[in-house]
């Protein structure tokens, strides 16, 4: 189904992976007029533990509301990767739902052990990059959103910019947009190097 894109963001509680998923779905619905849904793990139950959010974006109404062929996976933590990377990890029988050519983006400082390595993996010290460029790791989720949308083009640049602005707490708009741009620029460079076709909806 080429008009349906599935993404999964994962981390540990507090890293902002779930918020990133919400922002992405909002970009699709509010600014691109697409059909979209996001379903997060129930955070009240897992605070401090591994969390994930699944996002589905489609040009048609979404029938089955869960992921079955994930095109893009992001992991901010080893624990999250081990639990939610939907490859053939033992114990992952419910989440064996990655496409063969899924793009996997990990924080290279935090995810180092690749059980059942994915075909296409991007390793980048996302948190350190946010710390170095923006002074705080809190922007790493938005930085990652820049990379995700820059590579996948699952939503328009304008839509993700507007969605980030909509969610940014007062006074942090500029820093958040800067974080997004760092992500965009990395994605652009990466795409030029690897000549990956975007998976536009």
């Amino acid at each position: 189904m080429s008009n349906r894109v599935e993404l999964r963001f994962s981390g540990v509680g507090g890293q902002g992976a779930i918020l990133a998923g919400a922002i992405l779905a909002e970009a699709a619905v509010y600014f691109d007029g697409k059909y979209a849904l996001q379903s997060p793990t129930y955070t009240a139950q897992v605070r401090g533990g591994a969390t994930k959010v699944d996002v589905i974006i489609s040009s048609d109404p979404i029938i089955f509301p869960q992921t079955s062929e994930i095109n893009f996976y992001l992991a901010f933590a080893q624990r999250a990767y081990d639990r939610f990377y939907g490859g053939n990890n033992p114990g992952n029988r419910f989440f064996r739902d990655m496409t063969e050519d899924a793009i996997v983006l990990v924080d290279s400082d935090l995810v180092t052990n690749f059980n059942d390595p994915p075909h296409r993996v991007i390793k980048l010290p996302i948190l350190q990059l946010a710390l170095k460029e923006l002074g705080r790791t809190v922007f790493s989720n938005v930085l990652a959103l820049g990379i995700v949308t820059g590579i996948t083009k699952v939503v328009s640049d304008e839509a993700i910019v507007n969605a980030v602005k909509r969610r940014a707490p007062r006074g942090t708009e500029e820093m958040n947009l800067k974080a997004l741009n760092i992500g965009f620029n990395f994605a652009k460079k990466y795409m030029e190097q690897k000549s990956i076709d975007p998976v536009t909806v």
């Binding site: 779905a25 699709a28 509010y30 007029g33 996001q38 997060p40 869960q66």
Partner: protein, 377 residues
């Protein structure tokens, strides 16, 4: 698309729709995976002049909404399996006293405290027979976001129209899912209010038979004095053990449903015209089944979908017709086989009925339905 979409979770939509339907009282006790309904009601009810009470427990919550409804407010509570068990006694009271109200049960895995944050459809039979005694039941089970809104409104309308509690069954998948949905404008929403007495205070009989078998309901404090009890009662509402009186009122309550099936029953059918195989599914699994039917149709399998939105009363006549048309019916459910029993009862051997059951707290996926259908074919 005429109207812009907005992102809502299923639980948020229940609250939105309840307020749109005129609900002005919520009594509840938070329980996962339904808590966001109470949370949102606590925020928005006061803004429209309504009242929210977090009660001391599930039992009292059910009592509170019965009281509020008798006083004239459209009222609702929301819970999950463990709370639904506790509410059964008062639910029976609302049924015998014929008090309109809406009970939302966001189903999770059971029995007992079970699986708090995982989906299930295992309270389907409890919705029908959870409280003791013969009683009519209306239970609705939406699958999509817009349906959650529409069926919540319909739950209030049916409660008011037939003067009885209505159960809205959701499951954790659609309750916690945040999805883009276009909601109706407020002038597009049909709202039904309870029938009021037109006779004098002296002549008023709160439980007398009428043409539609639904007696008009006077609200407390309007001057119509009457008795409300959980005991079998006469048309005045006073306790009665008279055989004829008790029998007649029981039968009348049943007729509220059996004589208005066309109004209460609702379902969706897809590709049923030439189907040789049918899938009957509801709630979130209705979405898996729809996907499976589309997939199998694309492969040339003559398969169709029957997706009831009204689970109780069960759409008996239509299911019996389908059983005569097809050779096999699959019933995927996140339980160990509940609605399938009704399908078997109506199929009467005309079609082979096969359940697809999963209770681990994980949704049944389209591919699991597809492979089961192919396996049997």
């Amino acid at each position: 698309m005429s109207k812009r979409m907005e992102l809502y979770s299923g639980n948020e939509l229940v609250a939105e729709a309840a307020i749109a339907a005129g609900c002005r009282f919520f009594g509840g006790y938070p329980i996962t995976p339904s808590s966001e309904i109470a949370e949102r009601m606590s925020k928005f009810l006061p803004q429209v002049g309504g009242r929210f009470i977090q009660m001391e427990d599930e039992i009292a919550s059910m009592g509170a909404i019965i009281g509020a409804s008798l006083a004239g407010e459209k009222s609702m509570t929301a819970t999950s399996g463990p709370g639904f068990s506790l509410k059964q006694e008062n639910l029976g009271f609302a049924m015998i006293a014929e008090v309109p109200c809406v009970i939302v049960n966001v189903m999770r895995g059971g029995p007992s405290t079970g699986l708090p944050t995982a989906p299930s459809q295992s309270d389907v039979m409890q919705a029908r027979w959870g409280t003791h005694g013969d009683h009519p039941v209306i239970a609705l089970a939406p699958s999509y976001m817009r349906e959650i809104f529409d069926e919540t409104v319909r739950a209030f309308n049916l409660a008011e129209k037939y003067r009885m509690p209505v159960i809205l069954l959701l499951d954790e998948v659609i309750a916690h899912l945040h999805e883009g949905v276009a909601l109706p404008e407020s002038d597009e929403i049909e709202i039904v209010n309870r029938k009021k007495p037109t006779v004098s205070r002296e002549e008023y009989e709160p439980y007398a038979d009428t043409k539609d078998h639904v007696p008009p309901m006077a609200n407390f404090f309007e001057g119509y004095r009457y008795h409300v009890t959980g005991l079998s009662h006469n048309p005045k509402g006073l306790p009665s053990t008279d055989f004829e009186v008790v029998h007649a009122i029981q039968v009348r309550r049943q007729k509220k449903i059996t004589e208005h099936l066309d109004d209460i029953l609702k379902w969706e059918e897809r590709s049923m015209e030439d189907a040789e195989i049918a899938i009957i599914a509801y709630g979130s699994i209705g979405r898996s089944a729809t996907d499976a039917v589309e997939h199998l149709r694309a492969e040339g399998v003559k398969i169709g979908l029957f997706r009831p939105l009204t689970l109780w009363p069960f759409p008996e006549k239509r299911v019996a017709e389908i059983a005569r048309q097809v050779k096999r019916i699959f019933v995927p459910e996140m339980n160990l086989g509940q609605l399938v029993l009704e399908v078997e009862r109506m199929a009467k051997g005309d079609a082979e009925v096969i359940g697809i059951n999963q209770v681990g707290g994980v949704m049944i996926r389209p591919r699991e339905i597809v492979s089961r259908v192919k396996e049997v074919a």
